[in-house]
Every structure is written in structure tokens, then in C-alpha cells.
Amino acid sequence: MTVTIYIPRDSGALALGADRVARAIGEEAQARGRQVRIVRNGSRGLYWLEPMVEVETEKGRLAYGPVKPSDVPSLFDGDFLSGGAHPLFLGRPEEIPFLKRQTRLTFARCGITDPVSLSDYEAHEGLKGLRNALSMTPQEIIGEVTESGLRGRGGAGFPTGIKWKTVQDQPPGQKYIVCNADEGDSGTFSDRMIMEGDPFVLIEGMVIAGIAVGATRGYIYLRSEYPVTHRILEEAIAAARQAGVLGGSVLGSQYAFDIEVRVGAGAYVCGEETALLDSLQGKRGQVRAKPPLPAIEGLFGRPTVVNNVISLATVPVILDRGGAFYRDFGMGRSRGTIPIQLAGNVKRGGLFEAAFGLTLGELVEDIGGGTASGRPVRAVQVGGPLGAYFPPALFDTPFDYEAFAEKDGLIGHAGIVVFDDTVDMLKQARFAMEFCAVESCGKCTPCRVGSTRGVEVLDRLKNNIEPERQIEIVTDLCNTMKFGSLCALGGFTPYPVLSALRHFPEDFRPHPVREAAE
């Protein structure tokens, strides 16, 4: 009897040796004369357990992990092919508390299916949203998306339905759907995970967007740091074309839609939508003022929907279950679920999709299990390199756009990077300025020059040269950057800097111990 084994091909699992484990299992099975079928699935997002191997048994899928190639003989000895006992045995993955506590809507299939098998996708509710959309008018589709309350997951939180309506309202002609897969924020990987683990859901979301606004062409602008993602996307797009999900007649309908992947070239600012569009057109990725909005004058001057990967990948479940179903999750004006990414120095790092509203403390301490180093948590940065640093004193903040804004923070793309008590917040503030200087597109003086000045000032502060004066200058600089920058790179770099200064003032004052240690 052939046993089916799942071993992820997700970048994170590969970085931890999943290919070597797959090879070892294949070879061991052959040596022992056992018939196995290895499926390379996506990751479930429990990275501290990767590579996590699952076996299809009479009792359902059972997991083992984290598996090293050297564990493979003992797994066979323990008869893992029928779910036998082993120190790495984890039981049913759905019962692992980290997964059990989640509400997986966008990530419903991720880690379960073969990411490039369209039949597997369909067997797990795939294409139902698109089929519904094909029986609706474009107005009705946009109505559902608007009703769902979905806000852009790329960081700005703009209502997706309203954006689509603007593009739809433009006169007919060439329009585009552009998927922003530039995912540059440190501490985030949800775009990568869904594109590697369930690429069809993104494709389906883009097709629905195209039908809704009258676009026939889609681009996925993918960052070059994701080569594995690129391969998987290309396989999935080819399969979707083959099956007529993409092409001249989407599932036999009167609609045409096709998608092309374009790879970036390493520039954080190209995640900003106007820079991204310029980059797609083969130019330097320079930010431009809005208006005109990309929805009106976007790619090649044509009306364009620019949406984050997660925004688009959430559309199929909304069209499948209805806008009201999605809207009923969440709190306040933050509706639905958000895939939170727990990263950095955290015991249980990974992807946690949940309705908005969990507190930061629940996420970090309870779900994440605190630090990996075992030391106390001192700071967490939420929302990437432009997000604020929060101390444990703010851990009662609920995960919600408005609640974070109220505390001078942002949820951004929902990454949380955890730091223990060895962190030096002056250094982190300096890094924020340095990063801004390296990645600035150069258009605005406050961003381009202010960030370089910021690094110098913080260096003087570190060397204890007139510390109070430097703090004044850096605060001033931050204000200038905040109000004099065209985009959030220059405009939000003050968040990490000022939050570090405000919540961790002791790191910015003369520090004899640190001086001595260096």
C-alpha cells in the first residue's frame, strides 16, 4: 500500500533542511521496500516545528517535527508510516494549540494541499468564489467586497471595495490588476507563505478583481529575494492556464484574464505603489505624488488596482462565503481576520491568522510563548521597519488598525518582531535611520538627508557628546521627516525612532555599563 507523506517546499522549511529530509525519506523507503508518495505541500506556519512531516494514516494526517535527516531511520523504525510513536510525534496538526486557536480563512488550505495541484485546490473549496463571481455582475462583486469590510493588508489599510469601485468607474479600455508582492518588511512572510503554499488562491483573487473592474491583464510584482516563491508561482500559473482558469475565456465565460510574474531587483521603496508601477515600467523606482491615484492613472497611465497579496488572496473566501460572513469577524473598523507573523526572538514563531482584536500580549506571550532565548521580552516592533517599538507596558493594545494608531504605532503588514532584554534601543533607532538612508528613493530632502543626519546624531549620542542636545536634534529631525516626506519611508521612520526614545529613554542616556563593555 502506498502511503502519502507531506513535506513542505516552503522557503522556511527548505531553509531548515526540508529537501534533505525529503531525500532521506525517499531513500529510506526504497531501501526498506515501502511504497510512499511524497507531496511537497506548503507550510502550516509552525516554523519552530519545521521541517514538519505529515503522514496520511487511518487516523487522519499525523505530524512529526522538527525532522532532521538523521531522524529518518528511527522514524521508520517507529513505524511513522502508520502513525507510530516517536519522540518527534506531534499528533494531528489541527490539534496543536497554535493551529487550533486560529481562524484560518485566507490561509484555509495553506500547508494542507499540494500548492500546484489545481484538482487538490478544487477538492478543498477552491474556485468556488470565482464560480460565484462569474454568476454575478461586476457591481455585485464589488458590493460583496465592500460589505466584507476588507482593508488593504499592505499596510495603509485602505478599503479594497472602494479602490476597486474607482477603477471600475473609469471608462472601459486597458486596465490592470497589479499584485504587490514586494513584502519588504522584516518580520513579515505571510505573502511568501500563501504564494508558496496556496498560489491558486492569489490567482483566483486576481481573476475576480479583473472581472470586477474590467481588467484583462494582471502582474505580480515579486521581490527578487523570493526565488522559491517565483518557481512555485510559475508552476501554478501554468497549471491555471492549462485548465482554463486563466486565458481568453476564464472557466468558459466571456471574461479574459492572464497573469505574468515580474521580479524586482532589491529596492525596499518599490513596495510603495507608485514606485512599484514605475519599476514595472522599467524605470527607477521613484515615488510620485498622489493624485493622480493609480486607480485612475496607474500602470502605463491606465486605471490600475494595486493590492497586496493578502488582500487579493482574501477575496475568494469573501466571494465564496459572502461579505457578511467575513465582516462578522474582527472588531471596530478592522473587519475579518489578519495573518499575524510572529518573528525574531520568539519561542513559537510562525503564522497566526485570527480575527482582529487579540491583544499584543496574548500574541507575544501566550501564543508566541515569549522569547526563544528564555530571557524576558523587552520590546516588540510591530509593522516592519517603519513600525513603532512597543514595551510590555503596552501589551494590552488590541490588534486593530485604530487601536495601534492611538498608541502611536501601526500594524502595517502585521509582522511582530520580538526582542529580549539584551536589545539596545539606541542601536535599533540608529538602524531605522540607516535603513531609511539606504533605501530612500532620493526624492525628498527630509528623507534623503534627514536620515543620514539622524545616523550621525545618534552616533554622537552613543559617544556621549552633548546627549541632551542630540536628543533634541533627533526629535526635530523626526518632525521634519514626518511632515516633509512624500511617502511613508521618510514619513514613518520617525515611528521606530521616537517610540524607542519615548519608551526606552534609559538607552539614550549616558550609560556607564555599556560604555565599559565596548
Partner: protein
């Protein structure tokens, strides 16, 4: 040199041909050249400019904007080490120091023996298994000192 540059130009001709009729062809062409040579040689820019009806300055402006477009040949191996926050939080800096010592290069440099080029990268999306790196396209998670030593041996071999 003359001959080398003629060879280069003929090697990029099919890459240019493949893309020049598509929408927004410049980045795909430069990415193709990067894959082919490991860098974007100055010698090929005029051919691109001509094919796309751009000035050389425009093409150069794009090449110099993006971090990926190295303008000099890299070493036999390319090691990209993540320096962003999630990797900082997990001891990435200490590993980076160690690797720079072991390899005898600073960030942005190529070793004198041509063995390796060390480059910073700001996030590989492996933030839940940090620190991370990419060696010749192969991903590495939970990078520690032991693995750093292995990498150093590997690139020297």
C-alpha cells in the same frame, strides 16, 4: 577586452530579443543579464539602450538604482546575509561579525582570492527561523556559529 565585450554583447542579444516587445522590458532584461553573468557589465548597456530606444544615461540610471545590479563580477560564491530586525533580534550581528572574519571580507566586498562576495540583504522572509542567509541561491535558516564555519569551509573549497 574588446573581444570579451563583443562576446558579452552577443550573449545578451537573445535576452533582449526575448523581452523587447513586452510591456516594461528593462527589468526583465537586466535580471536576465544578472542571471547570465552574475553582474551587469557596463559593456552591454549601449546595446540595451539602442534596442529599447532609451539613452545610455537612462539605462545606467536604472542599473545604479537597484541593489541587485552589481556592476562588477562577483566571487565564485555569493553569500547574502540578512541584516534586518528579525535577524538582529536573534543574534544575527554576532554571526555576521564572525563570518566577516572567517571570510576575510566586509559587507559589499569580494574576497581577494575571488572565493566569495558578501552582501547584505534586508529580509529573506525567513523571520520565524532567523538569522538567515542565502548562499548561491540556497536558503539557510537558524544560522549559528557552527553553520557559519561550515559556510566558510564550503566557499573556500
Amino acid at each position: 577586452m574588446q573581444q570579451a565585450s563583443t562576446e558579452m554583447v552577443s550573449a545578451v542579444a537573445p535576452i533582449i530579443e526575448r523581452w523587447k516587445h513586452e510591456e516594461g522590458p528593462l527589468l526583465p532584461i537586466l535580471n536576465g543579464i544578472l542571471r547570465e553573468f552574475g553582474y551587469v557589465p557596463r559593456e552591454v548597456l549601449p546595446a540595451i539602450a539602442e534596442a529599447l530606444n532609451l539613452t545610455r544615461a537612462e539605462v545606467y540610471g536604472v542599473v545604479s538604482f537597484y541593489h541587485d545590479y552589481r556592476q562588477n563580477p562577483p566571487g565564485r560564491h555569493v553569500l547574502k546575509l540578512c541584516r534586518a530586525e528579525a535577524c538582529q533580534a536573534t543574534g544575527g550581528e554576532a554571526v555576521a561579525e564572525k563570518l566577516q572574519k572567517l571570510l576575510g571580507v566586509r559587507f559589499g566586498e569580494t574576497a581577494a582570492d575571488g572565493s566569495v562576495t558578501l552582501e547584505p540583504v534586508y529580509c529573506l522572509g525567513l523571520c520565524a527561523c532567523a538569522p538567515s542567509a542565502m548562499l548561491d541561491g540556497e536558503l539557510i535558516g537558524r544560522l549559528d556559529e557552527e553553520r557559519a564555519e561550515e559556510i566558510a569551509r564550503e566557499v573556500r573549497a
